[in-house]
Symmetry: C2
Subunit: 159 residues, 2 copies
């Protein structure tokens, strides 16, 4: 019962950040997403792609299945903005994000509470013995903060 | 045991955000904090004061004691930036934050894991029966996201 409550608290925090991101995306035109969030800083489209790539990366990390859009890492994780690489459109990235989130949501709902406290796939069985906090639920806590950080920047694209 | 682990995960997420904030503050001069984080947006000093006020507000919310700097709410929570109100200096705000954090840290360490799942003071006993996630630990989850959001903006003050 208690584990169920923990999981609910953390997933609710993730869902809140995800909803904030969409509230914002729904207000921003594709042209606005091409703007820098502040002079000389990352553009909206880059931060959007970055969030899509990082969210996609949660699938194998949580053992929910293979990456759906691993190719995005090259542009949006390993390279900085304005690297000269061709980027997918905002429409494509938003549609990718929705697809990833459908798989994530289904997997979130199907994972029994206790299993959220099992190790994520980037930690070894051996290390997990002494570092039991490196579990699946912890990924959600960290990724919620990561999303909040970038939503704080994307909000500057609003007029 | 599980409750202890969960508390540790959430406090660690808060501590990470708090450390990120200080890593940034330590790199920013008082002059830089007077700058807008993006043209027309909140200045660094306002966001700093806002974070100090909101962190101070956690004390009564978590039943850790009275507010230490309640007067900051007037300038940094109820009013927007550039309201014309006189502001404390960055040095004063940073010192306030350190004092608040000392009380918070001590209280964090002294609170038994199970008590983190008791209601925070802004929810009634009645509502808590049906909304058990409105507990003290949930405040920490939410405030970590809130801090990450504004750290994402403050980082734009760096050259």
């Amino acid at each position: 019962m208690e584990a169920q409550l923990f999981v609910k608290m953390v997933l609710s925090s993730w869902n809140t950040q995800y909803a904030e991101l969409w509230k914002l995306l729904d207000q921003l035109s594709d042209e606005q997403l091409q703007n820098e969030t502040s002079p000389g800083r990352n553009r909206g489209i880059y931060l959007l792609g970055h969030l899509v790539a990082v969210t996609d990366g949660m699938l194998p990390l949580l053992d929910f299945g293979p990456r759906m859009y691993a190719q995005l890492d090259g542009i949006f994780v390993h390279l900085p903005d304005k690297s000269g690489q061709e980027m997918p459109t905002a429409t494509t990235l938003k549609s990718n994000l929705k697809e990833i989130n459908e798989v994530l949501s289904t997997s979130f709902n199907n994972l029994p509470a206790e299993q959220w406290f099992s190790r994520h796939t980037a930690v070894s069985e051996f290390d997990f013995i002494s570092q039991p906090y490196r579990n699946k639920l912890n990924i959600i806590i960290n990724r919620s903060n990561h999303m909040a950080y970038h939503v704080g920047q994307l909000v500057y694209l609003l007029k």
